[in-house]
């Protein structure tokens, strides 16, 4: 155990924990981020839809409404400093009836009250001019140029990289199983026996915030996991819109959306199904037709044929639906940051500020650091630059000439950049570089990435995992297994018929 006592320990390295960590890194305090997974952003944030919301969905009477409105305007500056994929492409909420237009007008008024810039109510001509792929039956809607799209894991990776550059420590695979209040500080025990001390604790544990709160002897509440499944569509899909398309929201759901991504692909989803299990991320074919029917109602050219992959995530919802961000009433040096579901990603930068202020109010002395550097190095991406620029880049780093992933045009230099930033699982590298994320889903590049990982980290092939834990890819070397003689050929099922 380290002898020093940290000023702040943040439990959870999702977009919320990372935003808080980066904010604190600009102050003169010692901060550690504890993540139970093998890499940051591997929990709830990994499967976020990647929408930067427009600030009109919720009233400012709700904390999440205020933080969304405050957070959304912070992304341009963050992008300049942190170079994550983000585009303020705009959001359209589309109406099919006069009745639905009334809801649209209500959203517009709410947005105006929230001081959202640029909102417009659109008639039929205007909305179709803004997005040519919409269903012809759309009669009008709301245009929020303030909305956008982002790659959520790249955002988290950048926030953590920036925080670490400014002195924040990160400990992955640190699953807090027990906390002890030792008067002036908390003593945190990890599952693997590691321990550390911190004066203030920030509970940004996502799906597990309720368990951590209980472990600290703080407030009792319950996180209700709500599963959302999304389908990722090919970048050449005919239905790809230029803006995020929402239907008119139902009372407790924003509905099935069509979401372009900053990298040119597109997502359809998410669903919303409450469940008990915090680990179950399985996808289903349930309601498959209904989901695509809903999406096609918005954009008729959306097709199941363009699906590259499907994935599911869990929203860490609290009863009542609002965020719960406050100094614990039972543990005055614990800051609760729980129930951060949509629009949590949009609100995250504002949550960072808000939690910083809560820490101050709880007694933490924060002095701005003179040597704080908000910038991180931008890693050039070979797919984004011309052959002439690439040629110049190659002179200094020949690994830019080795194209590892053919579907997304990712070079070895980018893979190495990911590894040197601590992203050493196959999924981490996928999220950092996009290698394995394209049409072949790793069929051609995964063995190349495994070899680069071995070379760069000294790991053996058997140690390489998809995302940590037991998710290893290779079990043995050729020659290591005993070869069994063939069993007696038995007629099983239709095997006989196949002989023709």
């Amino acid at each position: 155990m380290k002898n020093d006592i940290y000023d702040v320990a943040i439990v959870g390295a999702g977009v919320v924990g990372a935003s808080i960590a980066r904010k604190l890194s600009s102050y003169d305090c010692t901060t550690v981020v504890l993540e139970k997974e093998w890499d940051v952003s591997f929990g709830v944030s990994k499967t976020n839809s990647g929408i930067v919301h427009g600030g009109f969905h919720y009233p400012t009477s709700l904390l999440k409404g205020r933080l969304e409105a405050a957070g959304t305007i912070m992304f341009e500056k963050l992008q300049q400093e942190l170079h994550f994929p983000f585009q303020r492409c705009g959001i359209l909420v589309v109406a099919f009836t006069v009745e639905e237009m009334k809801t649209i007008e209500r959203l517009y008024m709410q947005g105006v009250e929230n001081r959202v810039i640029g909102l417009e109510l659109c008639n039929r001509d205007r909305i179709h001019a803004l997005e040519s792929k919409l269903n012809a039956d759309v009669v009008g809607g709301l245009h929020a140029p303030s909305g956008g799209v982002i790659e959520p894991y790249r955002f988290v990776f950048s926030l953590i990289e920036s925080a670490r550059k400014n002195g924040v420590e990160l400990q992955t695979r640190f699953k807090v199983v027990k906390t002890e209040n030792e008067g002036e500080h908390f003593l945190l025990h990890a599952e693997d026996g590691r321990r550390l001390q911190a004066r203030y604790l920030v509970n940004a544990a996502g799906l597990y915030a309720d368990e951590l709160s209980a472990a600290c002897g703080a407030e009792a509440f319950r996180i209700i996991p709500r599963k959302g499944q999304e389908f990722l569509l090919d970048r050449n899909a005919a239905g790809l819109p230029g803006k995020v398309i929402f239907p008119v929201p139902a009372p407790n759901s924003k509905g099935i959306l069509v979401i372009p991504t900053p990298e040119g692909t597109c997502m359809v989803g998410p669903t919303a199904v409450e469940q008990e299990d915090k680990e179950d991320l399985s996808t289903t074919r349930d309601n498959f037709e209904a989901i695509f029917h809903s999406a096609r109602r918005l954009i008729p050219k959306i097709s199941e044929r363009d699906i590259i992959t499907a994935f599911a995530g869990l929203r860490p919802a609290l009863k009542g639906g609002d965020f719960y961000i406050a100094v614990s009433e039972k543990q005055p040096r614990l800051i609760q940051v729980a129930g951060i579901q949509s629009p949590g990603l949009t609100a995250a930068p504002a949550i960072g500020e808000y939690v910083k202020d809560l820490l101050k109010s709880a007694g933490l002395v924060l002095t701005e650091r003179a040597d704080y550097d908000p910038l991180i190095l931008e890693v050039p991406r070979i797919r984004k630059i011309s052959p002439y620029e690439a040629d110049t880049l190659l002179e200094n780093d020949p690994a830019y000439g080795e194209i590892v992933c053919r579907c997304e045009s990712v070079s070895e230099a980018e893979i190495v950049a990911a590894i040197r930033r601590g992203h050493t699982t196959m999924d981490s590298i996928k999220f950092y570089t996009r290698a394995q994320m394209g049409r072949c889903q790793g069929g051609f590049c995964s063995y190349k990435i495994m070899k680069i990982l071995m070379r760069e980290t000294g790991m053996s092939i058997e140690e390489i995992t998809k995302r940590g834990g037991e998710s290893r890819l290779i079990t043995d070397r050729v020659g290591a297994l005993t070869v069994h003689p063939p069993t007696t050929p038995g007629k099983k099922q239709s095997a006989g018929e196949a002989e023709q």
Binding site: N236, G443, R477, A480, A495
Partner: protein
Amino acid sequence: MREKHTDAVVIGGGSAGLAAASRIAAEGFSVTVLERESQPGGILNQCIHNGFGLQRFKEDLSGPEYAERFIDLVEKQDNVEVLLETTALEVSPGPVHAVYGYSRHTGVTRIDARAIVLAMGCRERNRGNIGIPGTRPSGVFTAGLAQRLINIDGFIPGRRAVILGSGDIGLIMARRCTWVGMEVLAVIEIQSYPSGLTRNIVQCLNDFGIPLYLSHTVSAIHGRDRVSGVTVTPMEEGKSAAAKSFDLECDTILLSVGLIPDNELSRKFGVHLNPETGGAFVDAGLMSSVPGVFACGNVLHVHDLVDYVSEESERCASYVIEYLRGEYPARHQPVSAGANVKYVIPNRYLPEMTNRFYLRSLIVKNKAELIVTLDGEPLKRKKLAHVQPSEMVSFSLDAADLPRISEPEEKRLEVSIV
């Protein structure tokens, strides 16, 4: 940036690219082949089993041996340059095309050429393409990736495998996995007939007692970190009979569920692609919608045997040669797939020459018949002992079979199977 000038650039140094390059060079033209791997031969290098070349060489060769025949040919030709570890990442089409090759050794090279041959091969369909529900653990591999890991790298991906899809790579891998000590529990095929060659069913499954479940599919994948099992569901009259499902405990799933031409690059520079094949629309000379850009082998459409790839690629080379000589005729008469035919390649024909066609049936049938019509009038019939989607059908039409067609006239050729 380095610059080169050549008559033809061949993108891909596998079976298609090597055959095309060698034939073009044999007529005295200069050819540059771009190959991303460190040696030529493409996917043949990992196909260490035999069964290659039975048609082409009347010999039973392994994949690397088959590749070697063509590598030897190319190496003897001074006017073929093979750039290894070089990836073509961008093409600017024009009267003279510019192809940008990226390499760690030589940086970016711009190669100017009048003709381009697309020979990038194909890739495997994966879990996302077929949408198997369930968890997303490690241990799900495409069969070709597993083949590469075992045969080239010496890495075994798991210990107890279920193979989904009875494509040839899946069947070959059932045997290969058994040989390295893995246990192969079953091969699962959703159709009522196998997708691979009959000889592979016999030699790779029956000889090893590996059961083939026809009309079954994998309806769920289980396991949190690593695969722990699959649910197998029978198909009855096109619908899954969920009540009759059963689970198999395994740590590995190999997918052999089809191949798709790898046209990432072609699409980027405007080559029109046929949704039925995933390859380019081509005229009777295998030229794509971009003038001077040709396609052959598995990047055009997926072939059953490499022998056919070699044949098609050499034929493609002969058209490239005509093009480079300025003797390439407009090939504008349309061809279409009729009843029970998935696709016909090429998409156009030329009445004045011998036209070779490849097609795939949509149906399974014994004693079938191929019918070719010209503007609805019967032109040719051919008896086929057996047709099924997994076995490619070919036929030729000579100039003698076809009527003279005067220039503005259009006569559509349609190919059907009954």
